[in-house]
Symmetry: D2
Subunit: 368 residues, 4 copies
């Protein structure tokens, strides 16, 4: 199992290597009747496009998406939606060094040992370009969720040691800065930090936060298919993510029950929680409050300083990575986090329709 399929009802299958002919995704199980055109998806893809700021790789990738199936007269038909992006700008430069060397922090070594050999041009299947399929499918998922009033706010929470301040939070800043931080002050500091990193031929990590509003109560299932468990898998499956949090996350380990419990109260005939330490789930099931999760991203492993490593033949060598690499991937990964969250939530939402017998019976008795 190469593990390229995700989801139970809204199921996506991604394919493609960074230096192959193309990259794509097949979406199976999309409900019929969604208006969809290339532009709807392109807008999402453009959010991960490189070459847009001083802090991302200067590679130019136009990444234009084509819809090959599943849409007829402007609407989804219920059959698989095949989306394809050609790999137009991958330079066929000299890969002789990395063909035999294992780059520290990359998957070269483990791929070689698992499969016996690997596509050594760029990252192959474990390149960041792998996320194109996720983002294209995520665009479709968010369009569907929007119809039910479910909205995403996803942004850079921190870069290196520079974190946003909650009191400065202003979502309107997100798309106005190269860092995608909703805090103008922190954003400027982060830019300084990145410039320093680049000057030192080094790279930075950071934290991405995703907030989702408008969720119905009841998404997620007890035990193994908890909504937060699936979100954890979704986000940690993104290359470079090393930690996942929901709600107060790591902080809860130091709190007391009296501090961490969210009390219920009535607000205008509706049940509400006074606080949201839980981050929007109770017992793994959405509680109607804002869903809040975070992904911790490691610094880009491709740095421009010499590093010690070994070759596949077992020789110790010094490697000097060439090429065009992002000093930080966090801003470009924001839309990937949003896409994975949307795919996971949509699948939970579709699966949840059968939780009550009454709903099922009404559904079919209503139909004719």
């Amino acid at each position: 199992m190469a593990g390229s399929t995700y989801g139970t009802i809204f199921k996506i299958t991604t394919w493609g290597e960074s230096h192959g002919k193309a990259i794509g995704v097949v979406i199976d199980g999309c409900p019929a009747g969604l208006p969809l055109c290339e532009n709807d998806i392109q807008r999402f893809l453009d959010r991960r496009k490189p070459g847009q700021t001083a802090y991302s790789t200067p590679r130019k990738e136009s990444d234009e998406v084509q819809i090959l199936s599943g849409v007829f007269e402007g609407k989804t038909t219920g059959t698989p939606i095949s989306l394809l992006v050609e790999n137009t700008s991958q330079r066929s430069h000299d890969y002789s060094q990395i063909a035999s060397c294992y780059r520290p922090g990359h998957a070269d070594y483990t791929f070689d040992r698992k499969y016996g050999f690997r596509d050594y041009r760029g990252g192959g299947r474990s390149s960041g370009r792998e996320t194109i399929g996720r983002v294209a499918a995520g665009a479709v998922a968010t369009l569907i969720l929007k119809k039910m009033g479910i909205e995403f706010t996803t942004f850079t929470r921190s870069i290196g040691p520079i974190s946003i301040q909650e009191e400065n939070f202003d979502a309107s800043f997100i798309f106005q800065t190269p860092t995608l931080m909703p805090d103008a002050v922190a954003g400027r500091q982060a830019e300084e930090y990145l410039k320093e990193c680049m000057k030192n031929h080094d790279s930075a990590g950071g934290v991405i936060e995703c907030r989702v509003t408008g969720l119905p109560i009841g998404l997620g299932d007890p035990v193994f298919e908890k909504l937060d468990a699936n979100l954890a898998k979704a986000l940690v499956s993104i290359g470079s993510v090393k930690a996942f949090e929901i709600g107060d996350g790591t902080l809860v380990s130091t709190l007391k029950g009296s501090e961490n419990n969210d009390e219920f109260y009535m607000d205008n005939e509706r049940i509400q929680k006074r606080t949201n330490h839980s981050g929007g789930t109770l017992g793994g099931i959405s509680d109607g409050d804002t869903l809040l999760m975070r992904a911790y991203i490691k610094p880009t492993p491709s740095i421009f300083s010499p590093q010690q490593t070994v070759t596949s033949a077992g020789e110790e060598v010094t490697i000097n990575i060439q090429g065009r690499h992002d000093p930080v991937i966090v801003p470009r990964a924001v839309v990937v986090v949003e896409a994975m969250a949307a795919l996971t939530i949509l699948d939970s939402l579709l699966l949840n329709m059968t939780s009550k017998l009454d709903s099922v019976v009404n559904f079919y008795n209503r139909k004719e």
Copy 2:
């Protein structure tokens, strides 16, 4: 989908509520030929039994496991292994208060809304007793992994603000203290902290760490089925876990690439990493190094102070939780984390056998 099945090849299905007749698990896909008896599983279950220390609920649960199928003449046969534990000591006391109230921090509210009603005796399906099936199945998984030299060291890393010190780490302490901390000094401090919590009718959270040695290289698949992604789901699917880390975890977001990359070198003809910031995976695939993960556990939501909440009918009320509850669940959850890690690793290991065509061809040509 109620979400009670886990795994692709080594697949488990758990069932049972805290106050039903019994709780159990069916293990399907266990390879044939493993010597297995009740005692092998009981040893694991006893690690989560309550009533063993001053810091766990005084409820007595004997939790004796029975093997109902899948074992013949002392060995697994390849057919489903059905394991059952009777619920002998659940008191049928008065549930009238919690039957209609939503306890803060519990799943009462979300279950009611998802399913239309719920088993209000204890936590029902979302009780901590749900983990019995996970632990019983995990016992079988660890026995298999042990045959390949794969070993687990799982322990309490912190309780509330009290954390172990790496320099004091001594694994032999783990099973000698009620906290399961491998640091005698921190263990005593944690006990003091817990006593204080109990005096204040409050509860504590903490962190569990799991280290796995002896893993082959190659477990986990690129993209969605990364080993760390599946471990994230496995651990966050345990009730009360709010964050997951692999390797340096949240810390990586503040490091630079030059600090976080693990350089390779040759040690006695074998490729090794000089450091293990990655925590044993590269590109989502095991790299042969120690696999290191952590789960952050929230404080027990059942506390003995009055709390504000609402009833299912929408009345605001004050709730005073009665009964026997753990002031901290971290020590009892240690074996649950180990079980979930073992189940996930074993499934990856079985799935990995088909990664190379040569291995497949040799397997069948060797057979006859």
Copy 3:
């Protein structure tokens, strides 16, 4: 993968060997709110109980089902329903002969080779008792389907060369005869045929037909998850089934398009098919007409005449099968066919709820 789990949303996992302590099934994903008690299931199980007629094994198996979880105050809660039947009447007689011999027509040989050894008492996992779990789960599925007006008529179509005549068809006969044939004349002839078989220490096969009415249009998905494809798997997965038909089945291969096409017409504002050669599906999707399928059952392999075979050590021997065996399993398998059909249809029905975006949006917007 031992293959004991079936279904995507309404998912069942069966376990147990013929001579183990018990046999059971876990139903996961049953919608909450279905009234359910042991009797509802027992009625179904009694339909497969042996010892009821002259033409089934005289073994007495009381096969009393217990509900261990998932039902609270008389209704399903949405959590796993664990059902268990104890193996009370399995005689521990002498198995020394079949322990080492491969019985012709049985799975002894293939189990031994696949797993390295086997539970040789009775058929172990491949015994007919394996179907208890299917039937118990099927009972729950039919109760749900009944709420939507979906009804099953399942019966013996033929035994050996004796087949019912369509013009004599009378469903009220089915439960009045030991053969479960809806044709009194054919039923009597079949009884004569079976008596002859028994006198000759031989056994008979036959055909089971299942007709389902009241199905909504739209169940089943294009391509691999066609409704008829899943029914084919469901029925052929029952031990001894060697052929599957839908609608006119094998006959269609000799028909012309003009004979086989079902023309549409309007009947009282509703679209109807003038004939039902298709058997209720078009393009793998239910068309609202009666779903009609058949399973062809081989003669019981356990016969009381001497047979040539080999031992696991590779010696040629003559085997004389002892014990209590059905001269024909067809009547007892009728309820198994019905159960598998019901499980498959219910799962398709639950999966079909997400086919249209409008339905999904309305479902959630209606909810609050």
Copy 4:
């Protein structure tokens, strides 16, 4: 779930409509190291190409396959293999009639009702062109199986009432005749029959048989994942298949146990069956003998005589189907049956590697 993914380890996802831009398949989980080029796949695809004989549609479809990912330096890498065929020759003629009419025997009606509307150009997703993805993936599966000595002989067994005679069977004829019948006499008679059908503006059905040799013992799992159950699903999932048989198939229902049991004997130190009524499986597990299965195909529903039907608006109309349609699809479907059988067998073979603990332990201990 639109049902376009098939397989557990060797998993394929097909996409595309008859009149969209392209049709394709993603193969995930293909073991690394298989030499693969476009030609290997093209040879298989050419076997289903139309326009090659007098008895298939005169449409010209070049159907040239492109490999877009998963192959590097001529070998599979273990990552998804994306295969694409452009839809070059679909005429954009006038679909106004079938856009609103439900063609008898087609999926028009059920698609409309399930999804709310449909791609009415040709059959859309339920067109025969859908099988291109299956065949392309099946080509890869057969290449892998061949490395283990597993070979397929698939052919037309009958067309209409004309069936091959076992005594005339000569596999070398298969690819020399337009009917793909391994019996020259029957082949000529079938051609006469087809000419007659065409003259009468009618169509014919038939039977396809697939024989597989060289299978290891042990493929398939007890209970739901029997090898024959999965083959049943695989073959019935092909459009127009209305019945499935394994071994003696429907015939067994009329046989006695003494006639149908296959006795074992020793042949040169190996266990063999004296007959093969079982068709190569016992208890759902391959027994090492020739696997033999059959698919019964209905006559092409598109016929050139007027038919009564209704429009989506509920008006009764007469339809005269235009265009280019096969008078019989059996010969073109032969390779589709072979592909589905190969995919199913390969997946069972990969899943079977974990049945014995010893094999698993040896696999990993051997590795380093």
